[in-house]
């Protein structure tokens, strides 16, 4: 067997005083999947951005095929057959899927008109991977899962020999993640070197050949998959033993209904919500389950007052909080954790303190500075109120948003995939805070793609399919995964199990 395709030789990356990656030495081989594990802010993304040419190493160097890497930037990386699927996608939301694919394809011909046969190969991968995505749709109108498929097609289009995935499964449904695992395996079997940055141990057991563990910028362990028990890998990652202890919120004693969705109808390109009615009581956690792209994001936008409704109403404690008109200015009283917080919930070039106080800033009132308490309570790392939000790692940014939205008592909370991209300790913390809100009297809506978590902790689960609530089930311990799966997909139980 030939030597490694990529070697990191004592590579270090500093951002000012922060050492993001600390003398990392690692080799990457063709034909295998290397999983890179580590908690939020461990330096995983930065390590791979060094290879991709975005952040050249401050010290040390990188060898490609045994020769010092000449990669100066992403364009060079692509030319050298390195492709990267970013944690935050590198797409143009305002442009069509077609344009996004063509822009990232080095072989795009000069004429990009519809009739040019030369552009067909750029679209072929997507057609194979996700035949349901219409290439003429704007990327902004796709669900996160669909956007990732577009991102994937882009990387496959450059016929890369080294493919980097930065937390690809954190935004996917279990079924989509399963498909992706198979897909990643096939890439490696075809001889590519695949690097898979992840927090999910399921990803590791499903497709990794080797596992590298990072902690505080350093690579603390590299081992073959299966060589060490998962528990010892987790403890290497965390530096401390972590047990999954999701404690469900207390059952509700007396139902006092507080948040109402009354026959809500709304329309967006490619999606329509029809007659959604839900009542959430004080102290209740209502889970919303569904396959990605069945109206979750539109429903969230409607409840948060971002997207106008065409009829019906959303009422919190007797007051309508729905938007009826795009021109209306409206600040939601809900604690709202949107999906993709980097794009939707923070101002990257403002400090953490200002980001925590966005509502006060918008209202023009005084900004308070209990930021430090909140930052440490929610484990935002580094807890420096004066730092720019854009320099936080993906997971820490998510925690920052949770701190703002769950840090003060609310009467209603809307959480969309609140644990996306978080490590195990952080997931635990966010769930605790979310359920604490309920126990303090909030009505909580929790949109999730993790059925297991929903079934562990939600009081009731509503199932969303094709823009409609097809069922609302009491989570009384008698629910089965298959039953919910059947409702989600519209298939019968025996078909799901098959």
């Amino acid at each position: 067997m030939s030597g490694p395709v990529v070697e990191f030789k004592a590579a270090t990356k500093r951002f000012g005083a922060t050492v993001a990656v600390d003398t990392a030495t690692l080799d990457i081989r063709s034909g295998e999947v290397l999983a890179v594990l580590g908690e939020n802010g461990a330096g995983k993304s930065t390590l791979m951005k060094m290879l991709y040419g975005i952040h050249p190493p401050s010290e040390g160097h990188i060898l490609i095929d045994g020769k010092p890497s000449a990669v100066q930037g992403p364009a060079d990386a692509m030319r050298n057959g390195i492709g990267m699927v970013f944690q935050h996608f590198s797409q143009f939301p305002a442009l069509s899927v077609r344009d996004n694919l063509l822009l990232a394809w080095p072989k795009t011909p000069f004429w990009t008109g519809r009739r040019n046969a030369g552009i067909a190969p750029a679209l072929a991968t997507l057609a194979e991977l996700a035949p349901h995505i219409d290439p003429d749709v704007r990327v902004a109108d796709l669900s996160v899962g669909e956007q990732q498929l577009v991102e994937l097609s882009k990387v496959l289009n450059i016929s890369a020999r080294i493919v980097i995935f930065d937390e690809p499964t954190s935004v996917l449904t279990p079924a989509e993640a399963h498909n992706l695992h198979g897909f990643i395996r096939r890439l490696a079997d075809d001889g590519m070197a695949v690097i898979l940055i992840t927090h999910k141990l399921a990803d590791v057991t499903a497709c990794a050949d080797r596992i590298a563990v990072m902690r505080r910028g350093a690579i603390v362990d590299v081992s073959a998959s299966g060589e060490k028990p998962i528990s010892s890998i987790v403890s290497l990652m965390m530096g401390k033993e972590i047990k999954r202890t999701l404690t469900a919120p207390k059952p509700i004693k007396q139902r006092v209904e507080q948040l109402f969705l009354n026959n809500v109808c709304a329309k967006a390109p490619g999606m329509e919500l029809r007659n959604i009615s839900l009542r959430i009581a004080k102290g209740e956690v209502l889970g919303i389950a569904g396959v990605a792209g069945n109206g979750q994001s539109l429903l969230a936008d409607v409840i948060a007052g971002l997207h106008p409704i065409t009829s019906g109403d959303v009422v919190l404690e007797g007051q309508s909080i729905a938007r009826r008109d795009v021109r209306q200015t409206l600040a939601t009283p809900l604690g709202y954790i949107p999906e993709q917080p980097r794009e939707n919930a923070v101002v990257e070039d403002m400090t953490l303190l200002r980001n925590l106080n966005l509502r006060a800033l918008a209202a023009g009132s005084r900004v308070d500075d209990e930021a430090l308490d909140l930052l440490s309570r929610f484990n935002v790392n580094p807890p420096e109120p004066g730092r720019l939000a854009g320099s936080l790692s993906g997971g820490n940014l998510q925690k920052l948003v949770s701190a703002r939205e769950l840090g003060t008592p609310r009467s209603g909370v809307l959480a969309c995939y609140p644990t996306m991209g978080l490590d195990l300790a952080a997931i635990e913390m966010v769930y605790q805070e979310l359920f604490a809100q309920a126990e303090a009297g909030a009505a909580v809506i929790w949109i999730s793609e993790d059925l297991d978590d929903l079934m562990l902790a939600a009081h009731r689960i509503a199932i969303l399919r094709e823009g409609e609530v097809v069922a609302v089930k009491d989570n009384d311990g008698t629910l089965s995964r298959d039953e919910i799966g059947a409702l989600m997909t519209g298939l019968r139980i025996d078909e799901v199990a098959a």
Binding site: G73, R79, F92, A94, L103, F110, T112
Partner: protein, 307 residues
């Protein structure tokens, strides 16, 4: 009666088209520049430089076509100064634009003095004898030069270019986000350089049309803010090249109307009247922004210019 009506209509149409033509080129140039996320106020200077150099070369060579090309070239050259300030030294876009404008104002005032009162050979008219009998079109073509069809062709070509070619697509992408474009292997600075120079080329050409074809004279500061108006019209046209045409024609029509009102001897202050075309554009801008719309068509990266 019919013939008379046709004649009046044709006269107005031709006047509108001719007064709008320099503006169409400038607005188109600025649209393309803004599509890559750059606001170039220097376009006023580039137009002025194009008008001055174009006129000088037209006079010297007795060939209006050479004049127009020299004007375009001068505009492009001046836009390189702007590109250097913005892309290499990372100077503020607004400040750099003003600087370029001032450079043009100074040099053209100085070197232009010799041009005042000179005669330039005009572009030939499009009309020919056999057309004279056709109502409307006969008059129209008789008073029109190649400049008008060229402007229309340039607009159509630019719209098609943006939508159907790889470079056009890259321009749109860089305007949305230079960072994401770089992640996709595009070189945003190179793309911006191209767009700025093309913008300068078009603005210079527009300026030369103003002096060589439309007024056929040179006067100091003769662009009278047309370049700045172009910057505003880009917003009204929602950064879409194809809308540049109708928007500029509305401006041209308003200008022609005020001129006619003036020459008809109405007792209105000429200074007030001169403000009318600008008011019309302002009105369109306001109306188009009141109409509810989420998608403004503004390239996302432009917002950072004002951050």
């Amino acid at each position: 009666m019919d013939a008379e009506l046709f004649a009046i209509l044709a006269a107005w149409s031709v006047a509108t088209l001719r007064s709008a033509t320099p503006l169409i080129f400038a607005t188109l140039g600025e649209t393309l520049t803004q599509r890559v996320g750059v606001i170039n106020l220097g376009i006023e200077g580039e137009m002025l430089m194009g008008a001055c150099v174009g006129f000088a070369v037209g006079v010297a060579t007795n060939n209006p076509w050479l004049g127009l090309m020299a004007g375009a070239f001068a505009g492009a050259l001046l836009s390189l100064v702007y590109a250097f300030l913005v892309l290499v030294t990372h100077a503020n876009q607004i400040g750099s634009g003003l600087a370029v404008w001032m450079i043009a104002l100074g040099t053209t005032s100085y070197f232009g003095r010799a041009l005042v009162g000179q005669q330039v050979t005009p572009l030939p008219n499009l009309g020919s004898d056999w057309m004279d009998d056709i109502p409307f079109l006969g008059v129209l073509f008789d008073q029109m030069t190649m400049a008008v069809p060229l402007a229309i062709a340039a607009v159509l070509f630019a719209a098609w270019w943006l939508a159907n070619t790889r470079p056009g697509m890259q321009w749109r992408a860089v305007g949305e986000s230079a960072v994401v474009a770089a992640e996709n292997g595009i070189r945003p600075r190179l793309v911006r350089l191209h767009a700025i120079v093309v913008g300068g080329l078009l603005a210079g050409f527009g300026g030369a049309i103003l002096s060589v074809d439309y007024t056929q004279t040179w006067a100091q500061e003769m662009t009278k803010g047309r370049g700045l108006i172009a910057v505003g019209l880009v917003i009204v046209a929602r950064w879409k090249p194809i809308l540049v045409l109708p928007i500029c024609l509305v401006f041209g029509l308003a200008e022609v109307a005020t001129l006619r009102v003036q020459s008809a001897g109405f007792a209105v202050s000429p200074h007030l009247l001169a403000a009318v075309p600008y008011l019309v554009v302002l009105l369109i801008l306001i109306v188009s922004h009141i109409m509810p719309r989420r998608d403004t068509g503004m390239p996302a990266d432009l917002k950072s210019v004002f951050a």
